[in-house]
Amino acid sequence: MASALPTARNGLFATIGAEIRSWSPTLKIGTAIMGIILFGAVFAPWVAPYDPYFQNFAATLQPPGPAHLFGTDNLGRDIFSRVLYGARIDLQIGLITTYVPMSYGMLLGAYSGYIGGRVDAVVMRILDTAMAFPFLVLIIVILAILGPGVQNIYISVFLVAWTMYARLARAEMMVERTKDYITAARVLGFPTNRIILRHGLPNVINSSIVFSMSDFVLNILLVSGLSFLGLGIQPPIPEWGAMISEGKDFILQAWWISTMPGFVVVLTGTALSLIGDGLAQRLGERHHTLV
């Protein structure tokens, strides 16, 4: 690892180049696929050949071909364009449902692990309570009460998803806090907040980052799944799960309506898992992704 790191003096591009060269093939491939999907999502208005809502009744149920890369659905909408716009929605929801709980879950876990004692006991009991709920049942109940929609997905995920990050950060912080550099920071008279945030946190963040890749995949699947069931994003908004759901009535005549968005979901999941595994190797051998 030592030889792979750049000396950081020969400019930003050289540094980035050296960093990328040190990546494993897993990490390179995952990042490349994810890069393409992200590019398509960010630049959807320029990349997409058609308006995702434009219905062309002269061209319904067209199979994949040069005019329509992924074919068209029963209303003549271009599936390729809809998948690109869908990436914006799915990735955005995935990011929020992953990294918002990660930030406060990690903070809570880091403080809890460092301070220990009663604070730790209280946080851990709250965590156990949150973990004890069957997640899918909880989310469906919340959606049933509050009604379908993104906001309500956020509420239910935020209630539960922080627990894994809190557990991870707490466990690692309990190891870190006994190390000499933390004691040295205390000897130098630094305030507790500073020790936790600036000295401890950077050393416990790795496993959370690796886990977040798996979590990201699961969250995209969750949103797609809920939308498929009609509890998430509502048609005609181009969301991958909702698109798969729309296509299921035509699966025998026009397989591409469901299959194409499904394929992109799988591709995204694979790319994120590859990145997760690659990062686990890059950041230390101890961590493994769950997906």
Binding site: A2, A8, G116, K179, D180, Y181, T183, A184, A185, R186, V187, L188, G189, F190, P191, R194, H199, P202, N203
Partner: protein, 340 residues
């Protein structure tokens, strides 16, 4: 040089009075420091020796209030530093003492530095936090500090990460961090144990040189009698959480007054030794959870009598600035004479 008697040279910098550190656990309570009293004079070098588990490191950490409670319970009549009782300071006051008045360096420099920060930033942090220096000013001061502790071309090395440095260099960086607050007392907890012998010498020489420049007091904790002998004005010998002997360095070597000290001295390898084997102290250090009321060393001592085990053996004066917790200091002296 011979400033071992606190009353003779004015007030002590740090006066520990009757310190007890107890670890309470499921297997019973361990008394790691048993009624310790100790003076540290301004500018002196005090050595603390004793084998592993004798409570040397616990003493340093207890003074700085670094022990987590539970399991550690610390009580003391007083720990006076510069007119203030450290045991009674609130957290914010204690932080100021830690950052600026008392510094501590640890055994293993590889783990004393945060692996994810550049070394320069770590050395600069106390300067910025405690002295309120701006970024550029702190950087210049950091380079000066690193140069002072003997890092070659520090302006080039300041942005390195800890893994890019050797153990000896890292210990120098740790010392630089400790010096940043211009402490009046430096606690060095086995600062050279993790380093190889040639580097050990350099680090010790550096510590002594810095001490002379800044007139700070230095407490050197070690299990190596040789290291202590070379560097310290006064020596405290600890055994099973108690001080068993306290004297100036020449006194300890010429007239040890406790059989444990004698045992330690005999186990120093010597180039001119006639004996083919080093002598060792028979037996094992006692289980601190099951100490009797008497002398903790009695079971390993050739001079032990029933009186040794019957009652607590207090530290008592056996000469000017020389104290021993043995009932028979004369017999120890006789034994030492017979040896040489």
């Amino acid at each position: 040089m011979a400033r071992w008697q606190a009353s003779a040279t004015g007030p002590a910098l740090l006066a520990v009075c009757d310190l007890v550190v107890e670890f309470r656990g499921k297997q019973g309570n361990v008394i790691a420091n048993d009624h310790l009293s100790l003076d540290i004079l301004p500018g002196e070098t005090l050595g603390i020796v004793g084998e592993s588990g004798s409570g040397k490191s616990v003493l340093c950490r207890a003074i700085l209030r670094l022990l987590p409670s539970p399991p550690a319970f610390v009580r003391a009549t007083s720990v006076m530093f510069d007119g203030r009782d450290l045991m009674r300071l609130d957290d914010a006051e204690m932080r100021r003492v830690r950052g600026q008045d008392i510094a501590m360096i640890f055994q293993n420099p590889m783990s004393s530095l945060n692996p994810v920060w550049p070394i320069g930033d770590q050395v600069a942090e106390p300067l910025r936090l405690h002295k309120g220096m701006a970024r550029g000013e702190a950087r210049a001061a950091t380079i000066a500090l690193l140069r002072r502790v003997g890092i070659p071309s520090p302006e080039k090395r300041i942005d390195d990460y800890p893994y890019q440095w050797s153990g000896g260099m890292m210990q120098r960086a740790v010392i630089a961090m400790a010096l940043a607050g211009a402490p009046r007392l430096m606690l060095a907890d086995e600062p050279t144990t993790a380093l190889d012998v040639t580097i050990q010498d350099q680090i010790l020489a550096l510590l002594l040189e810095l001490q002379r420049e800044s007139a700070m007091a230095l407490v050197l904790v070690s299990h190596d009698m040789g290291v202590i002998a070379e560097t310290c004005d006064r020596i405290v010998v600890m055994y099973a959480g108690r001080i068993v002997e306290l004297a100036s360095t020449p006194q300890i070597f010429e007239a040890p007054a406790h059989p444990y000290t004698l045992g330690l001295l005999r186990s120093i390898p010597r180039l001119d030794a006639r004996k083919p084997r080093l002598s060792s102290i028979p037996g094992q250090p006692p289980d601190l959870a099951q100490l009797g009321i008497g002398c903790a060393f009695a079971d390993r001592c050739s001079l032990a009598t029933p009186e040794c085990r019957a009652a607590r053996v207090e530290l008592r004066s056996v000469g000017p600035g020389h104290a021993s917790a043995c009932l028979y200091p004369d017999r120890v002296a006789a034994l030492a004479m017979a040896e040489t």
